[in-house]
């Protein structure tokens, strides 16, 4: 436990929210905010919840137990302020989720989201552009790619350097052809499933250059590294 840090409970604002922070050398390096809400528990009751948000720790001060101390201070303060329960939103793919579990928080509800792709070509180009920006190896390849979305149109793309462009028709030489649903495509970028995993689960079919497939799979795996929130 760092001896040079101090946990500070900020004043309560007019909306009931307050900040708890860890300071090192007078600088805020780890913090969270909490504030009040009533949450219904069935038809006849509501409880006073402390909603937690804005959790973060400076990168260079992580893995020193600061967040744990900030949370402990916040919970102690909540107990004295009439809160009976604390709640927060996170995602399973965040490292923070594991930390919150260690702090005693429990998963009570998964979010549900439905989506529809409005413009497959733009979606594919943007997603692959983000990928190429993060993956120099993929960016060094010149790839002609066909994406067959189930129950939707086929998209042809060209990856060259850091540029990804949509082709108006099928190219003469095709390096890689992938078939999947919109859901799978979005989940590759959003929800932490890898291309190899999707292949094993028969969510993706492919044909073409194995080296190109491997490079794409590696780039997607790297792209999906959990966000180090804590």
């Amino acid at each position: 436990m760092p001896s040079d840090s101090e946990i500070t409970l900020g004043p309560k604002r007019s909306d009931g929210w307050r900040k708890v922070s860890a300071e090192v050398g007078g600088k805020d390096v780890s913090h969270l905010y909490y504030g009040p809400a009533k949450v219904h528990v069935g038809r006849h009751a509501a409880v006073t919840m402390a909603c937690i948000g804005g959790v973060g720790t400076d990168k260079q001060h992580r893995r020193r137990g600061l967040a744990r101390r900030v949370f402990a201070r916040a919970v102690a303060s909540m107990q004295g302020e009439g809160y009976t329960v604390a709640g927060l939103f996170t995602s399973r793919r965040l490292v923070a989720h594991r930390l919150y579990r260690r702090f005693g928080f429990v998963d009570v509800s998964s979010g549900r989201i439905a989506y529809k792709v409005l413009d497959p070509a733009t979606l594919a180009r943007r997603s692959l552009s983000s990928l190429v920006q993060q993956s120099p190896e993929l960016g060094r390849r010149r790839l002609a790619l066909r994406l067959c979305f189930e129950r939707s149109r086929t998209v042809y793309l060209k990856i060259e350097g850091n540029d990804v462009s949509v082709l108006s028709r099928a190219p003469r030489r095709l390096d890689l052809s992938l078939t999947m649903s919109h859901t799978t495509f979005l989940q590759l970028f959003d929800s932490g499933i890898g291309l190899s995993h999707a292949l094993g689960a028969k969510l993706v079919q492919w044909s073409g250059d194995a080296g190109a497939f491997d490079a794409l799979a590696k780039a997607i795996a790297a792209f999906q590294r959990p966000v180090d929130e804590e």
Binding site: V39, Y83, A86, S109, R112, L118
Partner: protein, 277 residues
């Protein structure tokens, strides 16, 4: 695109609409969440919450689109065209329609409208946030060609004051006991979870909360990681029992299980968007 009633029109939010929209919201969620009463002011407050990064209703009334026939509001959709977590998407945060008959069609028309507006703003996909309990929006989305996945977001909870929590829900505990077959049950229940403990005293169909009794009729020891699931009605005592997350000490274990099942039934979880942060 779903078929559309010829006389149905879609328009943007106007000042004063929050009265009828809050009423519609309350009626919509009553079926699956119970009698929630969101005031027009609270309904309006959702545009001030931290997760809503879009413009205010005054600046961009398009983010609330309203379906009506002959001036009668049938439904509405709240769409955030600037979600902070996904630049290429528009996110329908709330989709509500009045009544049973035709509600699915109204929601499909509102979704189609949001799709057109999303495309016009350069968005490549439209996302619809669904309440865990809301099957109607999910049904309308499925009919409109939407696909669903569950792993997007997670709500986590920690019980910081067990006794305080039980005191807050004591009226509900009494109501549940009074409605059960064990309404005549008299006795005490001791609840232990980690370093927290509390007591329930049941008599005359009523439940009082107090300190953990020394000689209880029923002792429930529950793992801290299971406590929020039981108290918030996400899992029943029976489900937790078979997971070995609880242990029960009572002269009549079957009766104790029935009693705890009555006091802590499975419940819908309601997190008003106005209180999301």
């Amino acid at each position: 695109m779903s078929p559309r009633r010829r006389d149905m029109t879609i328009r943007s939010f106007r000042e004063g609409d929050e009265q009828v929209l809050a009423h519609l919201f309350n009626a919509y969620v009553a079926d699956f969440l119970g009698p929630i009463r969101l005031s027009p002011r609270a309904w309006r407050a959702q545009f001030k919450r931290k997760s809503w990064r879009g413009p205010s209703l005054t600046d961009d009334s398009d983010c609330c689109r309203i379906a009506e026939v002959g001036g009668r509001v049938l439904g509405y959709a709240l769409t955030d065209y600037q979600p902070f977590w996904r630049e290429d998407a528009a996110v329908v945060q709330e989709l509500c329609a009045a009544g049973e008959s035709g509600a699915d069609e109204v929601m499909q028309v509102l979704l189609a409208d949001a799709e057109q507006r999303g495309l016009a703003r350069g968005k490549s996909c439209l996302l619809l946030v669904l309440s865990p309990e809301d099957g109607r929006s999910a049904g309308a989305a499925a009919s409109s060609g939407y696909e669903e996945h569950r792993d997007h977001e997670l709500f986590m909870v920690l019980i910081v004051d067990l006794s305080g929590f039980l005191e807050e829900i004591a009226p509900a505990l009494s109501a549940r006991l009074a409605e059960s077959l064990l309404r005549q049950w008299r006795g005490s229940v001791k609840i232990l979870s980690g370093d927290q403990s509390s007591g329930l005293l049941c008599a005359d169909g009523s439940v009082a909360v107090g300190p953990a009794p020394d000689e209880p009729d029923v002792t429930l020891a529950i793992r801290p990681e299971a406590l929020p699931l039981l108290l918030l009605g996400r899992e029943t005592i029976g489900e937790l029992y078979v997971q070995d997350a609880v242990s029960l000490t009572a002269a009549d274990a079957a009766e104790a299980l029935s009693l705890l099942d009555a006091l802590f039934p499975r419940l819908p979880l309601f997190l008003p968007r106005a209180q999301w942060w």
